[in-house]
């Protein structure tokens, strides 16, 4: 399929278009907040606290008088940064491990990699975060590590599973005959053939990362105040929910729409990049 046809097919996919638009809206908000926000999120204005949404404060203000729209924009930065780095850790370590395991199928290396993956799966990311927090204290970095570690086995398994059948193909055999080593074959022939799968899984893990970051910040194990984060904002809103429900609405919708956008984009990409489904 040529690039132009792929692009046209992408435009026809409703999931992909809607999903990308949603995700892009939050990405733009996050980028914009690097230079400009409607109000300063570190400035406290007790006189105007707990205001309902109005023309002055579109999303209202919180219990310290901070502008909620501005906080959501900066919070998007936090969420996206944590999720991107966590997916990066997962891919950066998981994909090479998966490729190595597939190249040496059945070896001690393969067995060790798969067993240690099982072990990481036994610690849900929340438990990893609890362990790290107990020892080193809560921080954004520790949240990233906790989510990232959990991503490693996901990518390692996916890569191994997709790479294994490729090793029996004729073109891999001819590459071996021409004297290429397992590392070169993995990088030059196997990796390009599993990239589509990795992109789709990357989108899914990215949205799971946003949910995980929100949950960790909500229980106080993630980003620490005064840095705004969506989960933290929801935690703050909890005791005030009866008098200021708007404080709980906007951060919640921000998480929901971002995750929904990424999931839709993932579904769309999957349909687009997987020829078996596309032709069906």
């Amino acid at each position: 399929m040529t690039e132009e046809r792929l692009f046209r097919a992408a435009l026809r996919s409703r999931n992909l278009v809607v999903g990308n638009l949603l995700a892009a809206a939050f990405a733009i908000g996050a980028l914009l907040s690097l230079f400009w926000t409607p109000y300063d999120v570190t400035e406290l204005a007790i006189a105007t606290r707990l205001q309902a949404p109005s023309a002055v404060h579109w999303f209202g203000t919180d219990h310290f008088g901070r502008d909620i729209l501005s906080m959501i924009m900066v919070g998007a930065q936090t969420s996206i940064a944590v999720a991107i780095v966590a997916v990066g850790i997962g891919m950066g370590i998981g994909v090479p491990l998966g490729l190595a395991a597939a190249a040496r199928r059945g070896s001690l290396l393969d067995e060790t990699i798969m067993r240690s993956n099982d072990l990481v799966f036994a610690f849900p990311s929340l438990l990893i975060a609890i362990m790290i927090t107990t020892v080193f204290g809560p921080s954004a970095l520790n949240a990233i590590i906790a989510i990232g570690i959990f991503n490693i086995p996901v990518f390692a398994r996916l890569t191994r599973g997709a790479a294994l059948p490729l090793w029996t193909r004729d073109y891999i055999l001819s590459a071996r005959v021409s004297g290429k080593g397992p590392v070169r074959i993995s990088v030059e022939h196997i990796l390009p053939n599993v990239t589509n799968l990795l992109i789709v899984q990357g989108t899914i893990q990215f949205s799971l990362g946003i949910l995980a970051e929100a949950a960790l910040s909500y229980v106080g194990l993630g980003v620490q105040p005064p840095t705004p984060s969506w989960g933290r904002m929801l935690a703050d809103s909890q005791t005030l929910i009866a008098i200021a429900p708007h404080m709980a609405m906007f951060p919640g919708f921000a998480i929901l729409l971002t995750v929904l956008g990424l999931n839709l984009a993932g579904d769309g990409l999957c349909d687009l990049l997987d020829p078996r489904i596309r032709n069906a």
């Binding site: 067993r115 240690s116 099982d118 072990l119 799966f121 036994a122 610690f123 849900p124 929340l126 438990l127 609890i130 362990m131 790290i132 927090t133 107990t134 020892v135 949205s207 949910l211 929100a214 949950a215 909500y218 229980v219 106080g220 989960g231 929801l234 809103s237 909890q238 929910i241 009866a242 429900p245 709980a248 951060p251 919640g252 998480i255 929901l256 995750v259 929904l260 999931n263 839709l264």
Partner: protein, 315 residues
Amino acid sequence: MLRYTVKRLGSLLASLVVASLVIFACIEVVPGDPASFMLGINAQPDTVAALREELGLNRAPHERYIAWVGGLVTGDFGTSYTYRSPVSEIVVERLAISLPLAIYALSLTILVAFPVGILAATRRGSLTDISVMATTQLGVAIPNFWFALLMVLVFAVNLRWFSAGGFPGWDAGIPAAVKALTLPAIALALPQASILARVMRSSLLDTLSEDYIRTARAKGLTGRQALRKHALRNALIPVLTIIGLQFSFLLAGAIIIENVFFLPGLGRLVFQAISQRDLIVVESVVMILVFAVIIVNFLVDLAYAWVDPRLRSRT
């Protein structure tokens, strides 16, 4: 089947040993030593020395590891530093809330997901199917602790049907206790039910397109009979695996949801222990949760091999 079970049992034990080593090592590397970490920077040297003695920190690490694991096996989890009572007693007390909550949520998940998934699959492309797919897409994306907050706002603050949190205890009678667990269980179940309904739908669609279903229909079975006698049973295999995985997610997810509803379960215990630097409690509770996850995965593997004999020979 026996050989497979023994093999899986071996890897189960190996996982448990490595997991306990990892958890033990985490506590070992806390800045300073565990005793001064737990007491904080202002502690008197003799207090720290006394706690070191109490925790047995003067012994070599491998002796302490063996003592800890030996304790875990015999049900002696040590003594909580802040509660001054045996960790095993506290854990049993808290499990009396967390375990029923997880089971309640799992039952809701299955009760909702099965009929919804089957309905969507049998009416593929209809309005029902489309709305099921849209709703479950939302259910997967919604953060469950936010959904919990929204339910508190609607059902506790506005309608006053439920209390916003807390637990009356099982002594207050089963109906009162179950009522207190209802909103938390719904919050936990929503994302899992959405996932399971989607798995049920796609698995059933796969089996419905198999040749043996066409054969069954050709034999004269109605669509409903073919579904009940042939398709459902085969579609259940992947669904069962997902249910097993979900139970461990529910246990971990309960940690967060318990904090929304101020339920005194294992989750709240962990967070209180973190803020009070009670390493003994954190260490034991994390080990128990990991143990539960490993055991459930083991049982799922066995059930899967029992249902699908092809798996036994493959691994």
